[in-house]
Symmetry: none
Subunit: 209 residues, 4 copies
DNA sequence: CATGAATGAGGATTCATTCAT
DNA sequence: AATGAATGAATCCTCATTCAT
C-alpha cells in the first residue's frame, strides 16, 4: 500500500465514519451531503473526490459492516473452545451489535439483491457486498453442518438454505425487535435484549436436537 | 351512509388506490403528490381536499391493509371446519397476499410505534392503526390459546407474547423473502411461495406439539 | 328594510364578525377563507354569496370600524357637558378601543388612498370608506374650530389640515404603541395605557392655549 | 477582508439590493424568491446560498437601513456647526430619505419587538437590529439632553423616553404622510415634503423652549 | 338560496451534483 | 489534491375563487 493509497483510505474512512454516525441518528434520506461534509470537516466537493455519490458512501459502509459481521462470526465459528449453542448465541450478538451501531445497514441488507453479476459490477462495491453476503452464508452453513456432525443440530434441508433462512429470520427479528422496543417494554415488561434472546432461543429450537 | 359520504369515500379510495399502486412500485418517498394526482386524474389540489397530506394517504392505506388482515385472519380463525394447522398456514397466506398487493405497508408495520396514546391521537388514523394492530395480536393470541386447548400447540410463554413474536417473524420473513425472491430462485431452485411455506412450516415447529 | 334585506344583513354581519375576530388574532393574510367559513359555520361558497372576495370582507369591516369611530367621536364632540380637553382624551380613547378590537383596521387606515372617485367606485365600499374618513376629518375639524372659538385651542393652520395631522399622529402612535407595548413596559416601567395617555397629552400641547 | 469575503458581500448586496427594489414596489409578501432570483440574475438556489431564507433578506435590509439611519443621525448630532433646530430637521430628513428608498423597512420597524434576548439570538440578525435600534434611541436621547443643556429644549420626561416617543411619532408620521401623499396634495394643495416639514415643526414645538 | 366540488397558480425550501480553478 | 461557487430539478403544500346544481 503506497502512501497515497493510505491517505485515500484515511480520508474515505474519515468521511464514511461521519456518515455512519449521521445515518444512524437521522437515517440515510434525512442526512444531507452538506451535513456529512460539515461534520467531517471537508468541503462538500471533497466528499465527491472520495465517493462518487451518496449511495457509494452507503455501500461502502454496508460492505464494511458486513465484513465486520463476516469476521466476527468467522472468529466465533472457528474458535475451538465453545459449544455450538454458545456459538449460536454469539453469532446473534454480533448482529445485535451491528444493529446498535449502524441500524441503516440492516435496512440495506433487507433490500433486493441484483442477481446478474454484470449488473452488479456496474455499481462500485455492489458485487463485493454480494460476495461477502455469500461468504457469511457459507460460513454459517459450515457452522450448521459442523453442528450436525457434532450431533447438536438436526438439519431438515441443505445447510446453505437453512443458513439463509436463519439469516433472514435473525435480521428481521433484530430489526423488528429494535423498532418495537418501546412496545415490547410496555406490553411485556421485558427489555429488548431479554426479549430478543428469548426469540433467538425459540429459533434455535428449530434445529436443536 | 349518505350519497355525499359515498362520493367522498369513492374519491378517497380512487386516490388511495392509485397511491397504493405507485407506492408499491416506487416506494413512498419516491412517489410525489404530483404523480398521484396525475395518475389518479385529479388536480393536485383536489388530492388535498380528500387527504390532509401525503402521510394521511399512507396511513389510510396502512389502516385499510391492516384491517383487511384483521378481517382475513379473524374469518379463518373463527371458521369451524379447519384444523389448527390449516388455519396457521392460511393466516400466513393472508400476510403473503397483502405483501403482494401492498409491500410498503409492511415497511410501515415494521416502523417504530408511538406508545403515548395522546401523541397518537394528534395524527389522524394513527391510533386506529394501533388499535387494529392490537386486535390482530389478540386474535392470533386467541388462536394460539385455542390451539393449546385443542392439544395441538404447546406454548412456552403467554399467548399474547408468542402472538407478537410470530407476527414479527412472519412479517420479517415475508418481507425478506419477497425482496430476495430472485436470490432464492437462483440459489435454491425454488420459487418464493414454496420457500416461504417451508419457512412457515419450520416456524410452526416451534409451537407444534 | 325588507325581510330579505334583513336576512342578508344578518348573514353579512355574521360572517364579518367572525372574520374580524380571526383577522385580529392572526392577521388578514394568515386568515384563510376556509377558516372564516368554518368558524362562521357557513360553506365556503356561501361566503362568496355575501362578499365578492376576501378584500370586500376587509373593506366591510373597515367601513364598519370607521363608522363606529365617526359615531363615537361625533357623540363625544356633540355632547354639551364636557370640556374640550376631556373631549380630546375621549376621542383618543375611541381610537384606542378600536385598535384593541380590530387592530387590522389601523393597518388599512394607514394604506394609500385612491383619490380618483371613479376608481374608488370600481371597488365596492371603497368610496364609502373614503366618505366616512372625510366625515371624521370634518368632525374633528369642527371640534378644533369650536375649541378655538372657546379660546381653548390655538390653531396655526386650517382646522381641516390640523385635523388630518392629528388623525395621522394618533393612528401612528396608537399602532406603534401597541406593537411596542412590551418594549415600553420593559424599558420605561409603564403600561401601554399610561404611556399612550402621556403621548396624547404631549400632542395636545401643540394646540392647547 | 479576504477576496472571498468581498465576493460574498458583493453577491449578498447584489441580491439584497434587488430584493429591496422589489420589496419597495410590491411589498415583501408579494415578492417571491423566484422574482428576486430572476431579477438579480441568479438561480433560485443560489439565493439560498447567500441567504438562509426570505426573512433573512428582509432582516439584512432592515439592519442595513437602520444602520444607515444610525450613522446618518450620529453624524448630524455630532457635527459642531449646526444649531439644535437644524439638527432636528436634518434627522427628520434622514428618516424621510430612508422611507423614499425602502418604505418596507418602516413597516418592519413598526412591528412587534422580541424582548427576550435569547429568543432574538435564535434568528440571525434580529439581535443586531435590536441593538442598532437601541443605539439610535440613545443617540437621539443624547441629542435631546444636549439640547436641554444648551437651553434650546425643555424635556418633561427622561430623554430616553422622549427619544422613543419622537421616534414613534416620526416613523408613524412619515409612513402615513407618504401613503397619503396624494390625499395631502389634493386636499391641502401642498406637496408631501412641505407638509411633513410642517408636521415636524409642530412636533418640535413640543420640546422647544 | 346555499353549497359541494374542483382547481390553477403559485411559493418557499431542499439537495445531490458538477465544474472550473 | 481540494474546493468554492452555482444550480437544476424536485417536492410538499396553500388558498382564493369559480361553477354547476
Amino acid at each position: 500500500m503506497t502512501k497515497a493509497e493510505k491517505m485515500e483510505l484515511f480520508h474515505r474512512d474519515n468521511i464514511a465514519d461521519t456518515a455512519e454516525r449521521l445515518f444512524s441518528i437521522n437515517g440515510i434520506e434525512k442526512t444531507s451531503m452538506d451535513q456529512i461534509a460539515k461534520e467531517a470537516d471537508y468541503s462538500k466537493s471533497t466528499i465527491y473526490v472520495y465517493f462518487k455519490n451518496k449511495e457509494e458512501i452507503v455501500l461502502y459502509l454496508v460492505l464494511k459492516g458486513m465484513t465486520e459481521i463476516k469476521n466476527g462470526i468467522s472468529e466465533i465459528i472457528d474458535s475451538k473452545d465453545k459449544s455450538d449453542e454458545d456459538k449460536y448465541y454469539q453469532i446473534c450478538q454480533v448482529l445485535v451489535s451491528l444493529y446498535d451501531k449502524s441500524p441503516f445497514i440492516f435496512s440495506h441488507m433487507m433490500e433486493t439483491i441484483e442477481m446478474k453479476k454484470e449488473e452488479r459490477l456496474k455499481v462500485p462495491l455492489l458485487d463485493d457486498i454480494y460476495q461477502v453476503g455469500e461468504d457469511i452464508n457459507e460460513k454459517i452453513a459450515e457452522f450448521l453442518k459442523t453442528g450436525e456432525t457434532n450431533n447438536n443440530f438436526k438439519l431438515d434441508d441443505k445447510a446453505e438454505k437453512l443458513s439463509f433462512i436463519y439469516w433472514m429470520m435473525l435480521s428481521g427479528v433484530i430489526m423488528f425487535g429494535n423498532k418495537k422496543s418501546q412496545y415490547i417494554e410496555c406490553q411485556f415488561k421485558q427489555n429488548k435484549e431479554d426479549f430478543l434472546n428469548q426469540v433467538f432461543a425459540m429459533m434455535l429450537g428449530i434445529i436443536k436436537k
